[in-house]
Amino acid sequence: MADIPLSVRGLDKHFGGLAAVQNVDLDLRPGVTTALVGPNGAGKTTVFNLITGNIPADAGDVLLDGASVRGLQPYQIARRGVARSFQDLRLFGRMSVRDNVLAALEPAPWLWQPGGGGARRARAKAVETALERTGLTAQADARAMDLAYAERKFLSLARILATGARIWLLDEPASGLDPNSRARFVALVRQAVSEGVTICLIEHNLDIVTELADRIAFLDRGAKLAEGEPQEILGDPQLISIYFGEPR
């Protein structure tokens, strides 16, 4: 169990009478990209919010390297190497692109960061590298809120990339991207995986899922209906009809 970076056990979450997540198990393994797939409202984002501690689970547990994160604050879970993106991006809108990335590397809750000049230069270097890899170097001084749509999406990735987190939770990172940007996104994720990052992504575009995912977990009405290899899941006519919202 300890060799599984992130493992979810029996997660439950109700919002009033709505069962948003029901008894979900999920293992994210190193070098394996998992896609969380399911119709709108299936509970995919809620699973991320439960993993990162944004909302407390009613039952179940999240294990990082086998150790429970129960009771930890979101910032503490983040510092254990879990980075996430948001469906609605949540960039630091009035800050520059560079500061958006830099801010993601400065967790010390004090008036300055420890480590002095050496650590500061290392952070600056990590920021420049992340901006280069996401193609944002030319926009480094622009305000995040002034970026074009695709650039904003890449900025949300640059923040994650720079942190060096070993687990990435990406919530619809490629939605609305043009084919060219989408190809860049796929290349970026592949490179991260080759560098040992464990990725879980929520994605509606099944082409991207096919391109990137090694495994698919299929969620519907809060429950995990199936999990397996992409061709297994995407070849199941029943799941596909649920996915495309055909009458049941």
Binding site: T52, N54, Q73, P74, Y75, A78, R79, A83, R84, F86, R90, L91, F92, G93, R94, M95, D99, N100, L102, A103, A104, E106, P107, A108, P109, W110, L111, W112, Q113, A142, R143, D146, R159, T163
Partner: protein, 292 residues
């Protein structure tokens, strides 16, 4: 005339410190406090008490005022950690209203409605600094120090953390920011600086009472910050100059009867605020609405 200008400049400098400290909360941390006059008042009372009971040393008084205001600002940090936006505005309004009552009733500490009278002349390390020009210079030095501290901190990781929280609290958390700690730190720092401004004010006026620490004062300071431009170094100073000089300037206009100056002022403030938020939402020193 010189005396008049010195007086105006001293008040503007003290309000500059006050507005700059509120900008730390509003502009950088996104904490819309309308209770800032409370901490201005706490500093003023603490400094005045120290001067009257022990020694009228400005340095010690600033320390005491900053400490008292900073420590009691935890009353403001608590709601700031739990609620945002309009809910926090309402919570800070409640705090402001409570504080005015306490200030009017706690005779031992504040002198009640009558206030504290006969605050001794300010000294600094044994030197008398109470002469108006000297005191102005001292105030300017404090303002400069406050601005340097704010600039250094806000350009560093602390400022970035606060602005990240301001722009998206949940994303800041997701990147490892201890939001509660950082917000508390910002509140304590901003309110301690307001306390220091209060100490200067108390020494300068040689008399303080609750009238200077009311909701109107809090709103005036907030207007200074917003009109001048939040999250910029000079914005709050621009706001202070405008809102302090405006009444002074108006009183020179011959065609406005002195009894009407108050209402004319209110009209101009109101109009300026409304127009500004439409055309220059980031304030005079900020970017214009269409600027990229």
């Amino acid at each position: 005339m010189i005396a008049y200008l010195t007086n105006l400049a001293t008040l503007a400098t003290i309000f500059g410190i006050l507005a700059a400290s509120l900008n730390l909360l509003i502009g950088y941390a996104g904490i819309f406090s309308i209770a800032h006059a409370v901490f201005f008042g706490l500093g003023a009372y603490a400094g005045a008490q120290l001067a009257m009971l022990l020694v009228p040393d400005l340095l010690l008084a600033c320390l005491a005022g900053g400490l008292v205001a900073g420590a009691l600002s935890l009353c403001l940090a608590l709601p700031a950690l739990r609620v945002r936006g309009e809910y926090f505005v309402a919570a800070s309004l409640g705090l402001q209203m409570m504080a005015v009552t306490v200030f009017s009733e706690a005779h031992a500490f504040t002198g009640g409605h009558g206030g504290l009278v006969g605050i001794p002349l300010a000294s600094l390390l044994g030197f008398d600094i109470s002469a108006p020009p000297t005191f102005l210079v001292v105030c300017l030095v404090v303002l400069a120090l406050v601005l340097v501290v704010i600039r250094v901190l806000m350009r560093g990781s602390f400022g970035r953390s606060l602005m990240a929280i301001r722009d998206s609290e949940s994303a800041a958390e997701a990147f490892g920011k201890n939001v509660a700690r950082l917000k508390t730190l910002a509140v304590v720092l901003g309110c301690a600086m307001a306390g220091v401004a209060g100490v200067l004010f108390a020494f300068y006026m040689a008399f303080v009472n609750v009238e200077s620490f009311t909701l109107e004062q809090s709103i005036l300071v907030m207007a200074m910050v917003i009109i001048g431009g939040t999250a910029t170094l000079i914005g709050p100073l621009v706001g202070v100059l405008l809102l302090l000089l405006l009444p002074a300037g108006l009183s020179f206009l011959p065609f406005i009867p002195p009894t009407e100056i108050g209402s004319v002022q209110q009209l101009i403030y109101g109009l300026a605020m409304a127009l500004l938020m439409i055309f220059r939402p980031a304030g005079l020193a900020g970017r214009s609405a269409g600027q990229r």
